[in-house]
């Protein structure tokens, strides 16, 4: 690649533009670090449908979708990935939803067919486990522990 700086534009802008060769625009882009691992994780644990829904929530929902819906919170998405990495889901995987407040929610049934739900938000995660009638809120640093508990 040859980087060109144009006098009228800052390098931060023109460098990015310089990377956008026609082929790159159509099919190839430089991914963020960990992005590939995260995409693979989604495919493995949520399946192609789950992957597609998350992709959709990230790229196709602007502010005020639905009735005053918010865009997906970056913190919620990061927490979601951390949880999915640790969690074990039953065959078929969980369903995934975007919530009005910009959170992302996972729902599945445990081995006895009882529902488990967890919503990741910008401040933590809220969960409900029907088998134990337990519900609560956890901070981001407790997600791995919660994932192991809800996976059992």
């Amino acid at each position: 690649m040859t980087a060109l700086f144009y006098q009228s534009l800052p390098a931060s802008f023109s460098l990015v533009e310089a990377l956008r060769e026609p082929a790159a625009v159509a099919a190839v882009r430089r991914t963020a670090p960990d992005e590939l691992a995260r995409e693979e994780l989604l495919l493995r644990k949520l399946g192609p449908r789950g992957w597609g829904r998350v992709h959709h929530f990230r790229n196709y929902y602007a502010s005020d979708w639905g009735e005053n819906g918010r865009v997906l919170s970056p913190k919620a998405l990061d927490a979601f990935f951390r949880f999915v990495e640790e969690a074990q889901f039953p065959a078929g995987g969980p369903s995934v939803f975007l919530t009005d407040r910009g959170g992302i929610e996972l729902c599945w049934e445990d081995r006895e067919g009882r529902p488990v739900q967890i919503e990741f938000t910008g401040t933590g995660a809220e969960f409900y486990q029907a088998a134990t009638e337990e519900e609560g809120v956890v901070a981001f640093d407790s997600l791995a522990q919660l994932a192991r508990r809800l996976s059992a």
């Binding site: 931060s12 533009e17 430089r30 790229n59 970056p74 927490a79």
Partner: protein, 250 residues
């Protein structure tokens, strides 16, 4: 991905080098907006117009909003600039940045002061919600082939690759910071005297959403990212090259 930081940082870092290779430094916050894009430039301009009276719309603003929002390469690009004598502020629907004027790096103390001022103005403008990413990025230009001056290079069959155009990108970790280092010896920079061939060292260091809060730890995070880039820069240079840059120490 390895968390090891492969460069040895010199114990003493210069406070100044001459000639200064910094073309541009960019301090960027990506965020979730609380207001529609159409209102954001006005809300910001009302806060900064005394210091940044000029404005310029960038070409990507011509791309329809739907396309910009769905293309990961476009979503975080700025659409408008506000200019002052020393800095410019760039704004997009999910990004705001403070950028130094080309080839006139004012030093970290001046930048830190301007960042502090800008954060207060952004807070008052009230359109920034959650922080997605905070970064510092430095773009340096060197005459000739910079790989001769770095402790970094490309090898083929165990032998250094010399004399060819080489572009090298790698991602490093240091604590919670992610750093993308991009080096090329095939760059052209626009100067007052016309285009000039040479090399570019582009270092981008950022915190993700869990570690960054623009109005909480934002200024401190920018400072930490700046320091890590400074460490990396001096860790990359060979002692001979550093000496040729006339370093001044405290």
């Amino acid at each position: 991905m390895s968390d090891a930081f492969p460069f040895q940082i010199p114990e003493r870092l210069p406070i100044r080098i001459e000639p200064c290779p910094i073309v541009e430094a960019i301090f960027e916050a990506r965020f979730v907006g609380l207001e529609p894009w159409a209102t954001m430039p006005g809300l910001l301009f009302a806060q900064i117009r005394e210091k940044y009276p000029e404005q310029k719309t960038l070409p990507v603003a011509q791309v329809p909003e739907e396309l910009r929002r769905q293309d990961p390469a476009l979503i975080h690009l700025p659409l408008i600039q506000f200019l002052s004598g020393r800095f410019l502020i760039q704004l997009g629907p999910r990004v705001v940045s403070l950028v130094t004027k080309p080839n006139t790096y004012p030093g970290w103390k001046v930048i830190e002061q301007e960042l502090g001022w800008l954060l207060e103005r952004l807070r008052t403008a009230g359109f920034i919600g959650e922080t997605e990413r905070l970064s510092a990025r430095y773009i340096d230009f060197f005459d000739g082939d910079v790989f001769k001056a770095l402790r970094l290079g490309l090898q083929v069959n165990g032998q250094p690759l010399k004399g060819l155009q080489t572009d090298l990108t790698t991602v490093l970790r240091r604590g919670a910071l992610t750093i993308r280092l991009n080096v090329t010896n095939g760059a052209i920079v626009a100067t007052k005297d016309g285009p000039k061939p040479g090399s570019v060292l582009d270092m981008d260091a950022w915190y993700g959403p869990m570690e960054a809060d623009l109005f909480g730890n934002g200024l401190a995070r920018f400072g930490e990212a700046h320091q890590v880039i400074k460490d990396l820069f001096f860790g990359l240079l060979t002692p001979e090259n550093l000496a040729s840059l006339n370093p001044v120490y405290e």
